[in-house]
């Protein structure tokens, strides 16, 4: 950023001594740049950048991580108040239970898993989705007896607009090859450790045990994997393109929800 050509220095009119006609020194008005604007005096234009982070992503997880730069931090608070859902791909492994629910933790127990079928897993996922849907309606603090509550429930627009425990709005199984399986989870107000705990609990429900091998966020509100920049793309041009590409999306989403 600092290498980019900066603002041209201001010009002002100074009366400088210069030889006039006839040999006598006179004052001639000339346009000269202001010394205070000289790059060696001013120094680099950007010394610090204000960068804010969106929803947390812990060390063992990967995926889309939203950052705000400078004035974009104000949009970050607005996005937080929109309470949008995030989508994760969770990889799990049957047969082990560890103390921190991931495969790098201390082993607690090993169990058999050959009785698990995809059908049983889908049944459990349907029940998880059902109870979380009920929690969604309950934490949204709407009076269930009103007609508006009924209309919102029909359209599926009821969601908690304040603080709430983690809620899973949708969950489904993408792949299932014993002992590994992969789930796609849409959730609100969650932490990655909570998702690992969900994998552990699925293992317990199926009368076996499971650990989480991979947590990858593939969508955070309006930002998807296509908008995300890879490690090799962290340079000025890509960042500027990404910001301009997402601006419209973010603005429309905030206006739609917060009005």
């Amino acid at each position: 950023l600092n290498a980019a050509p900066g603002r041209a220095p201001r010009q002002h009119v100074r009366f400088l001594p210069a030889p006039a006609d006839g040999g006598a020194t006179g004052l001639v008005p000339m346009r000269v740049p202001v010394l205070a604007d000289h790059p060696l005096v001013r120094g680099p234009r950007f010394r610090q950048l204000k960068i804010g982070a969106g929803h947390r992503l812990d060390v063992k997880a990967s995926g889309v991580f939203v950052l705000g730069i400078g004035h974009g931090n104000k949009l970050l608070t607005d996005l937080y108040n929109c309470h949008l859902t995030r989508v994760y791909t969770i990889g799990g492994l049957f047969g082990k239970a560890t103390d921190d629910f991931s495969d790098t933790g201390k082993l607690v127990e090993k169990t058999t898993f050959d009785h698990i079928t995809r059908e049983k897993l889908e049944r459990i996922l349907a029940v998880i989705q059902g109870t979380n849907h009920k929690a969604l309606l309950m934490y949204s603090n709407i009076d269930m007896k009103t007609q508006e509550a009924y209309e919102l429930a029909v359209r599926g627009l009821i969601r908690p607009m304040g603080k709430s425990p983690p809620i899973i709005t949708a969950i489904r199984c993408l792949q299932f090859t014993l002992p590994e399986f992969q789930l796609e989870i849409h959730c609100l107000h969650e932490t990655q450790q909570y998702l690992r705990k969900v994998v552990h609990e699925i293992g317990l429900e199926l009368k076996s045990s499971a650990v989480c091998t991979q947590v990858r966020r593939i969508r955070d509100g309006v930002f998807t994997l296509d908008d995300a920049l890879l490690r090799t793309q962290w340079d000025l041009q890509n960042i500027q393109n990404a910001i301009s590409g997402c601006q419209l999306k973010v603005k429309t989403e905030i206006e739609r929800i917060l009005g």
């Binding site: 047969g95 082993l107 090993k110 049944r123 349907a126 989705q129 509550a149 429930a153 949708a170 076996s208």
Partner: protein, 455 residues
Amino acid sequence: RRRAEMWRALRGARRPPPALRRGLAQREGPRSVRQLREAEEAAPVIQYAGKAAKRKDRVFVWGFCYSGALGVPSFVKPDVGWKKPRRIQSTPYRLETAEKISSAACGYGFTLLSSSTADITKVWGMGLNKDSQLGFQRSRRDQMKGYEYVLEPSPIPLPLDKPQQTRVLQVSCGRAHSLILTDSEGVFTMGNNSYGQCGRKIVEDEIYSESHLIHQLKEFDSRVVQVVCGQDHSLFRTKNGTVYACGWGADGQTGLGHYNITSVPTKLHGDIAGVNIIQVSSCGDCCLAVSDEGDVFGWGNSEYLQLACVTETTQVNVPRHLPFKIGKIKEAACGGTGNVVLTEEGNVFVWGYGILGKGPNLIETAVPEMIPPSLFGCSDFSPDIRVAHIRCGLSHFAAITNRGELFVWGKNLRGCLGTGRMEDQYFPWRVTVPGEVMDVACGADHMVCMVKSFT
């Protein structure tokens, strides 16, 4: 100085003794990755469920407890002295049963559970027994008297010819009478017969409590495949598709063309003559029947606009075809004041009066209104969720989806909805039951559901 010495001695005594030499033991340091991996591989593998593990069948009950209809004696008479009796069980509670229950029915303050076993005990009953609707339950204190309230599932002795071969297919309960359907010995009826609802001759001033009388009905044109109890009348559906009725008829619910009492099961005519009926339903004083072609017929009480689409009269005593243009109908259920049908596509239509399930604004309608499938969990994420069965209580409704989830809505009389809250529910709400719901029975103020565990 002596005090200081005393304190020093005490402090010295409390000091821990010097660490003992461990001898040849190694120091326990941080283990290497290889050691951890080896320890992991050497750990024992525990088996909780084998490959052939079967899903268990369970029964859950909830609702009003004081009548004993839930079958848990500790709700009414707690085991411990300091506990108070529980009036309402507002969330599903597991009921331990001796056998796998295949059919359950809830009446007004009593419940019948039946199993399709070949053992001698096939039917259990609990709750009110003031009209012997649960048969004669001999009291343990006095051998001559019977129990008026049965607090836990007690076997009902049936006078079967072949007790170890006949199987009980279905049970049904009305206000004060009950019907038990067997596969080869007809229908057994017990309970109040003051309107002839048990299908036997009415005896003047008969005392129904502590009665041993169980009547057997065999004279139908073919084998009976479904029995349904309304409030004070009984309906029988045979294999040929004909419907028989007996009992009180002042609202025309017997459908026999008159408003009198019938004490012998008589065949119905009207619009269902010659039609193959595949399902009959009744809970209060209105009755609905579904034919194999997807048409629905109704008769009985119409004060709440249940049959208002065909007639203005409030009592209809002959079955009338209800010309609804909502598609082929698969199942119908009648409630006290509202009715619900399920079409082949899996859509649920309600009409009548009361809390119908479309918000607080819809109180009564004569034309069926569809309940949006999104309320049952159908969305872009899971588009193939359909409602599989519908049931009706006196003022509430229940629906079971194809994923085994139970949705209830309606008036929450004494906690009968099972949602955990005491307020009425104006749109379908999930009941969290730990298992896949197979069937549910709705009574006036309690419900019973049969559930299969997940794994």
